[in-house]
Symmetry: C2
Subunit: 324 residues, 2 copies
């Protein structure tokens, strides 16, 4: 926990209060041998250190008038941990750099840490320190370390021709929740919850790992965009095949109400944090027994100049801009 | 290397160009088993993972009209690695989250990475990926991993009564360099260089480690402030004893020119990144043979209600605000 940069009279008080919260969450973890407070933290040995970084910025990823500080902290931790889930890694320790605009209250910041701590209790992980500095907008930069599986490290580049492309659960719900927030709706709390409180699919990752699925990534930008990344990394093409029967009723109803396309929400909506993976159809059948919410979204075909063979006309990758 | 958040038409092109630079620097490192490009990176085993985070924000830590993109990138890496040096850890891998304001050129960002790569060539360390997102100001959030020493992990809390307080080299020079930039001077490039191109004292750390010095931290905020942190962590008090003979002539001359106090520069100036440590006088004598630039700045005394027994009246910890 460094203290540089911040121009507040009471920054060291704040750091002490944050350190108290951190020591609370870390009581159940042995990962942090030397906790925040020195120039660096010392962790227990890591056989296969898995590292991911993420960020959540005010008016880009969240809005203070839409989300409580706890919700912002919770989601910031979860979206970072999701990358560990997609890498078959168990969370070890999360570090957070905080950028604080002038005028923000200490209570808001402590509530932000309450949200972080809630997520790290639900998905057990130690909380390291981080830098606190001033800036024009509230911002969290997150660094997560995990312990990778001894069995395999999944990659985007492992898709094979003829394999199916699958997801572990429903898509488009977070995008619909964001749409509802943009419209100022209050009667669809379930949808808004998908946007505010995504879950990292460690449970689904466990099942995929047991089946030795080697091509996995999480869907943060939207199926269309992320499938494109996967196709590029694997040097294949993808043909989307999405059955409307797999779209949740809550999504279809919402889209009907506002004349939106549920297919577009499914393809372009981001932040669902479901896992995207490829495997043979027969392997999927056995996975599907343990993951009844999983479904097929496409097929891996030979690349002949086009990555996505049937791109929906208006679908584009979800851009994280909630500010306008 | 995630791609969320950024609202530029060519963000994936930029990411690819950055990945090329990253793969260049990583050719000499075996630390990154799975390099940037997937949801997470996979590193080689770490026996004693040492983690530190830092940040460099536009108009808080740097100014684009004062520093070239290369200089900003170089310093960002170095100030982060300095915490590893102060923890007796060897650099393993640096991850960087980048916040990009609208209108910044791709060339500027690539030059920023040139500076990062220069530092990581000079102080060998792999370069992991990181998140790129849009924001109102250019900002780097850095996350460094090192391999700790098997001998000991130094702490701020290990100072003992009666020990001397020492630094590994001259202080105040970076502050004088910043002052020169603020005055728009061009005739003191050597001073400005101390502000722009600090060095992490891995060389000094090696010497301190060999002598089993257990209380170490780097001086980023300024001697007065950092000594206070050390005193608090060790529950001691500190009496400053700084001989003007240890102040560099270049600092004294600059202070004389502008009627500044070299003592104040020494105590309050930050960003020198020298190491602050405590030990017995006899041990220091042997260290001093290998580190002729090291000198005494104080003594560790019993805490009786005041951490710093002789605080210079006007000295205050350096606040990282270069923007006003």
């Amino acid at each position: 926990m460094s203290d540089s940069g911040i121009r507040m009279g009471n920054e060291f008080d704040l750091i002490k209060k944050i350190q108290q919260k951190i020591s609370g969450i870390n009581r159940n973890h042995s990962a942090l041998i030397v906790p925040p407070g020195d120039d660096a933290a010392l962790l227990s040995s890591l056989v296969r250190p898995v590292i991911t970084t993420d960020c959540q910025r005010q008016n880009v990823h969240f809005r203070l008038d839409w989300q409580s500080p706890e919700e912002i902290g919770f989601k910031a931790a979860v979206v970072t941990l999701s990358d560990l889930a997609a890498s078959y890694a168990q969370p070890v320790c999360l570090f957070v750099n905080l950028t604080i605009p002038e005028g923000i209250s200490e209570l808001t910041l402590l509530q932000l840490y309450d949200g972080l701590c809630e997520a790290l209790t639900l998905y057990p992980c130690a909380l390291g320190g981080g830098n606190i500095s001033s800036g024009s907008e509230l911002s969290l930069d997150l660094f997560a370390m995990g312990e990778g599986s001894s069995l395999l490290f999944p990659l985007r580049s492992k898709a094979l021709l003829g394999q199916g492309l699958y997801v572990t659960g429903p898509l488009g719900l977070a995008r619909a929740g964001l749409d509802a927030l943009e419209r100022g709706l209050t009667d669809v709390p379930d949808l808004i919850r998908f946007f505010k409180r995504p879950r990292p699919r460690f449970d689904a990752a466990d099942i995929l790992l047991k089946k030795h699925i080697s091509c996995v990534m999480d869907i943060s930008d939207g199926l269309a965009g992320d499938a494109h990344h996967l196709a590029e990394a694997s040097n294949i093409a993808i043909r989307f095949e999405i059955q409307t029967s797999f779209m949740p009723d809550i999504l279809k109803e919402y889209c009907q109400r506002f004349n939106l396309s549920p297919l577009e929400m499914t393809l372009a909506g981001g932040e669902d944090y479901e896992l995207l993976f490829t495997c043979e159809e027969s392997v999927f059948q056995t996975i599907n027994k343990d993951l009844p919410g999983a479904f097929k979204v496409g097929t891996c075909l030979e690349f002949q100049g086009t990555r996505i063979l049937n791109p929906p006309l208006s679908a584009h990758s979800f851009v994280h801009t909630v500010g306008d």
